[in-house]
Each structure stands twice: as structure tokens, then as C-alpha cells.
């Protein structure tokens, strides 16, 4: 059974049809890259997978591990192992990053009937990941994403990915706004997460992240449909020739 199976997906946002029959299948152990021009529906797919209110499935289906995602609340999707790295991570002043991370991990463990980490175990785990991502201790104490630079916010998303260890990671333009050093740190984090029992969907505009994370499959999304899929060399072709080459 596929980890994620999207069949003929139609989605409207504010009564506007954005996805128009999208098909996608991701198996465990695979990394897929979804590329496409602005407005093609990339972020819509990410949001509809995570269950953001306002994104309405009008036709087709999304199955995660065989389960119909449309029937699950956002938190239930997270509890089943779906993770969205946000394109624009939200700032939450007054709630420390550490507290947010603990509440996230605890809620996942509790929902799965697993033992909660002790505070000591938790702090140790978070510190280790933060160090790998070159995030100073101070970022753990500050309000969630509060006053973080664009790059720091993205690294904080990857910190969550590594801590929460989901089964499917959807990374919505995690590479945008990153300088080359931060890009490498983030890519290293994603590669560390990559395993035989999980899957990754990388949504991106640019080929450059794929220099560091080699995808198994590359898809091109245009006007709400996947119009071409191929191997990692497809991303290089796109980089050279642009999206017009695919749609023409």
C-alpha cells in the first residue's frame, strides 16, 4: 500500500478551482519533488493535505496509509504521522519554542498511546537537533518563531521535522529565502530524516535544493494538474529550459 495516494483531486479555495484532477502516489522510502510555476497549485496541495480550513475537496480522494484524509482533523493527520513544514511559519509570542515543541511531541505520543518523554530526555533530544541545525540555545527559549529571520524560521521547521519524526513530510517551499549556507544545513537535516519507512514531498520553485537532496521522482504541476513526471534529471531540464518547455 502507498503511503500517500492522491487520485483525481479537485480542490477549491474561496470558490476558485485550484487543483483540477491531481494524481500522485508516494511510497515509503521515496522522495518526491513537486515543481511548478507560481499559482499552479503547489501550496494548495500542501495545505489540503494538512487540513487547513478553507481548502475544499470537491472531487477525488486523498488516502494516507489507506485512510481517507478528508475525514480527519488537522491534529488527527499529525497524529497519524503527516507533517507540513510551513512556507510561512507562524510567530507565537508568549509561547516559548521549547514549550511548543514539548506540547507537540506530547500530543503525538499521547494520541498514539506512547509514553511521554521526561523533561530531561526531551531537552536533551531538542538540544542535539538544534545543534545539528546550527540553531543557538536562545532560539529554544524565545517565543515560537518570534523575531526569527526567514532562514531561522525554516530551520525551526526542520527541527520540528527531526523531533516529531513523521511518516510523511510535506515541505512547502522550505528552501525559499535561504542563503546557500542555510540551504545546506536544511538539506542535511532533511537527508538525515530520510529513511526506508518514511516519505518526503518537497515543494519547490528551484532546482538548487535538489542538488543536495536527490529525489526519486520529480513532478511538474501546471494549472492544477501534474503534467509530467520523471527522474531527477527532469529538474535539471526544467532549470535549463523553464516550465514553458513542459506545457508547450
Amino acid at each position: 500500500m502507498s503511503l500517500l495516494e492522491v487520485v483525481d483531486l479537485h480542490v477549491t479555495v474561496a470558490d476558485q478551482q485550484i487543483l483540477k484532477g491531481l494524481n500522485l502516489r508516494i511510497n515509503s522510502g521515496e522522495v518526491h519533488a513537486l515543481m511548478g510555476p507560481n499559482g499552479s497549485g503547489k501550496s494548495t496541495l500542501a495545505n489540503v493535505l494538512a487540513g487547513r480550513p478553507g481548502f475544499v475537496i470537491t472531487r477525488g480522494s486523498v488516502r494516507f496509509d489507506g485512510e481517507n484524509l478528508a475525514e480527519l482533523k488537522p491534529e488527527e493527520r499529525a497524529q497519524r504521522g503527516l507533517f507540513l513544514a510551513f512556507q510561512y511559519p507562524v510567530e507565537i509570542p508568549g509561547v516559548s519554542n521549547m514549550e511548543f515543541l514539548k506540547a507537540s511531541l506530547d500530543s503525538l505520543h499521547a494520541a498514539r498511546g506512547q509514553d511521554l518523554l521526561s523533561t530531561m530526555e526531551f531537552v536533551k533530544a531538542v538540544r542535539r537537533i538544534a545543534e545539528e541545525l546550527d540553531l543557538a540555545e536562545e532560539f529554544l527559549k524565545r517565543g515560537v518563531n518570534e523575531g526569527f529571520s526567514g532562514g531561522e524560521k525554516k530551520r525551526n521547521e526542520i527541527l520540528q521535522l527531526l523531533l516529531l519524526q513523521p511518516r510523511l513530510a510535506v515541505l512547502d517551499e522550505t528552501d525559499s529565502g535561504l542563503d546557500i549556507d542555510a540551504l545546506q544545513v536544511v538539506a542535511a537535516g532533511i537527508n538525515r530524516y530520510r529513511a526506508a519507512d518514511n516519505g518526503v514531498l518537497i515543494i519547490t520553485h528551484y532546482q538548487r535544493l535538489l542538488n543536495y537532496i536527490v529525489p526519486d521522482v520529480v513532478h511538474v504541476l501546471t494549472d492544477g494538474q501534474i503534467v509530467k513526471s520523471g527522474g531527477k534529471e527532469l529538474a535539471l531540464d526544467l532549470d535549463e529550459k523553464g516550465y514553458g518547455w513542459v506545457t508547450a
Binding site: V95, A111, L164
Partner: protein
């Protein structure tokens, strides 16, 4: 309601009419008779009619409305009003006479009603905090005189379950510093309190005020930045639940040049409660270089909850920096979705966001206790 009587003469007639050495009952009653019948009272007590508060004075009193501790230290001298004489008596009289009877008729009522009071003189840097706990019906006014260059921590906790009024007047000498936490985390029947602070040159006052709205509570704070370079930092967090009613009024007067004030209040109203916030900045003629900021942000969590917020500015000089902002809103959908996408259910996500919102205004020695109380109310 056996204590309810007609308003206001019958109540006034019941109050002790004899003059006290520190307070003229005759003058107080005279002011009250005028003020309570005036139109201005309807404006200053717009959302919280004063009538029920006035009637509250007819209720029986506790023998010990207030307990003060931390008095036994070398930098502190405490004198009950009944034992006042000489310059100390003059000092108390001057403080009480400076209270505006038109703005604060409840202060006159309190002074008429209270059999005594406490003067606390702080002569140096007090090591232990002065703790004032309101534990019973009635009132026991406190006047605190902090000498130049001295410092004091004040912890004020309101725990009374019956009608009470609390009046604290703090004089802060030149270069002195006061750190003051006021907590009203219980839900008493009805309460009024007034904090007046008068700041001399280069003195500093930091006030943190935390409240969980009472059945009906009105809290007045009045800061007078009277000496050049004086500074007041005021933060507050409040939450009203069920059918509570909390009315907070803050006035900051900049009376001298280069004075600074900062006010930041965050509030949440739930259930069918009502929260009122009125913050006024008054910059007097000649107070050049004054710098004043006021923000009040509120969350209304239920259509049945009501929040009235009004910042007011009165500025009589050109050379000032002054800004204010007040908002009433709901929790951000983006923030809620972010937390839910990490596995927290809707109720837990809301509680975390509300708590974080209040905690932006919570710090200091009571932070843990206050946060616990707010958390309990939000879950």
C-alpha cells in the same frame, strides 16, 4: 440582599460622621453629596454603576480587612493612623487631601468608613517585600512613603470574598524605586481598589497588575509623574470568565519634563463576562520631553463576552512622544492551524495561544502563580 438600602443618603447617613485626625468627615460627606448627584459620575462610572458599590458600604465589616507583613525590617517604620502625630500626621493628611474627590468618590467613602489605616515609611533599601493581603470585608487604607534613594518591593494580594475597598497611596522620593505586583486572582463578591502613586524626580515605579475578574470589580490606578525624569512601567494581564465584570481605569499624568510612561495590558474575556479598560495619558503644560506609550490588546473568546476599551490622550505641550493603541480581536486562525498541524487538538491549541497572549504581560515574582491561575481558567 438584606443590606440593600436606598441610595445614596441613607448609606451616607450610616457612615461614621465623626472627624478623624487624618480625615475630615464633614468635608468628605460634603464632597460626596455633590459628586454622587452630579452628571460627571455617570461618565467616570459609565460601565460599572457606582450605586451598588456605594450600597456595599452598608454591609457588615470584618475586624481584619487587611494583613500587612514584611514590616519588621530596619528600613521600614510602620505606624497605625490612630498613633499618628506631628509631621507623620501632616504627611497622611496631605496625601489624602490630594486625592481628587470628584474623580474618586469611592476614596472618600473608604476614608469615612475605615476606622483606621497604616502609614509605612521606607527609609532605605528594604530587603524583604512589603506584603499587603486583603482578606476580609471592609477597608484599611495604606500610605507608603519611600524616602529619596530608597527602594521597596510591594506584593499586594486580594483574597477577600466579601465587599471590600482597598486604597494604597505610594509616595516615591527622588531617585527611589518601587517594584509592585498586584494580584486579584480570586473572585470576590465585589471590590473597588485605588492605587495612587506620586513620583519625584528620577524615581522609577514598576507595576504589574494581574486580575481574574470578580463578580464585580473596579480597579483604579493613578500615576503622577511629578518630578523630572520620573518613569512608570505598567503591565497588566487580566481574564474575565462566566458572568464576571472587571473595570480597569488607569490614569498617568506627566507633570514634569522628561518623564516616561509605558503601559501594556493584555486581556481576555470569556463566557458572558464583561471587561472594561480605560487608559488615559495626560501630559501637562510644561512637561516637555514626555514620552508615553499605551497598548491594550484584548481577545474576546465568546460572542456573549464584551470588551470595552478606550485609550484617551490629553496633551498640553508640543514636545512629546506619545502613542497609544487598543484592539479587540479573536485568536488567529493561522496560529490555531499551526498548532493543530503539530498534533494539538483545538481546545489545547486555543488554551496555549490564550496563555501565551497573557504571558506577554506576565513576569516577576508572582509569574508562576499567576500563570497557573490563568491556565486553570483557560482549560
Amino acid at each position: 440582599m438584606g443590606h440593600r438600602v436606598s441610595y445614596p443618603q441613607v448609606v451616607l447617613e450610616r457612615l461614621p460622621a465623626a472627624d478623624k485626625p487624618w480625615f475630615s468627615a464633614k468635608a468628605g460627606l460634603g464632597r460626596l453629596n455633590t459628586v454622587l448627584a452630579s452628571k460627571s459620575i455617570r461618565e467616570t462610572w459609565k460601565y460599572t454603576p457606582i450605586k451598588s458599590f456605594v450600597e456595599g458600604f452598608a454591609a457588615p465589616k470584618s475586624a481584619t480587612p487587611l494583613v500587612a507583613s514584611g514590616l519588621d525590617q530596619p528600613e521600614i517604620e510602620a505606624i497605625q493612623f490612630a498613633a499618628l502625630e506631628g509631621p507623620d500626621l501632616d504627611l497622611v493628611r496631605r496625601c489624602l487631601e490630594s486625592v481628587d474627590g470628584v474623580r474618586y468618590p469611592m476614596a472618600d467613602l473608604t476614608m469615612l468608613d475605615a476606622p483606621g489605616g497604616l502609614l509605612v515609611k521606607v527609609t532605605g533599601r528594604a530587603q524583604a517585600p512589603l506584603t499587603l493581603r486583603t482578606i476580609g470585608a471592609g477597608s484599611h487604607p495604606v500610605i507608603i512613603d519611600v524616602a529619596p534613594e530608597a527602594s521597596l518591593n510591594i506584593v499586594e494580594e486580594s483574597e477577600a470574598q466579601d465587599f471590600n475597598t482597598q486604597f494604597v497611596y505610594v509616595r516615591v522620593g527622588a531617585g527611589a524605586r518601587v517594584d509592585h505586583v498586584r494580584c486579584a486572582l480570586q473572585v470576590p463578591a465585589m471590590q473597588w481598589s485605588l492605587l495612587m502613586a506620586e513620583l519625584d524626580s528620577d524615581s522609577a515605579y514598576e507595576l504589574q497588575q494581574y486580575q481574574v475578574g470578580g463578580h464585580r470589580r473596579r480597579t483604579d490606578c493613578h500615576f503622577m509623574l511629578a518630578g523630572q525624569g520620573a518613569r512608570a512601567d505598567i503591565t497588566g494581564a487580566f481574564l474575565t470568565e462566566d458572568s464576571c465584570h472587571l473595570d480597569q481605569q488607569v490614569i498617568v499624568e506627566h507633570k514634569a519634563p522628561n518623564t516616561v510612561s509605558r503601559q501594556k495590558f493584555h486581556g481576555i474575556a470569556t463566557g458572558k463576562s464583561r471587561a472594561v479598560f480605560n487608559g488615559r495619558i495626560h501630559i501637562h503644560h510644561g512637561a516637555d520631553g514626555s514620552d508615553a506609550l499605551l497598548t491594550n490588546r484584548n481577545l474576546s473568546l465568546n460572542p456573549g463576552a464584551e470588551i470595552n476599551t478606550k485609550p484617551e490622550l490629553e496633551i498640553y505641550t508640543d514636545d512629546v512622544r506619545c502613542a497609544h493603541g487598543a484592539t479587540v480581536g479573536q485568536l488567529s486562525e493561522d496560529s490555531l492551524f499551526y498548532l493543530r498541524s503539530r498534533g494539538m487538538n483545538d481546545a489545547a491549541a486555543r488554551a496555549i495561544l490564550c496563555n501565551g497572549f497573557l504571558r506577554e504581560c506576565i513576569s516577576g515574582p508572582m509569574a508562576e502563580k499567576v500563570t497557573e491561575r490563568f491556565t486553570a481558567a483557560l482549560l
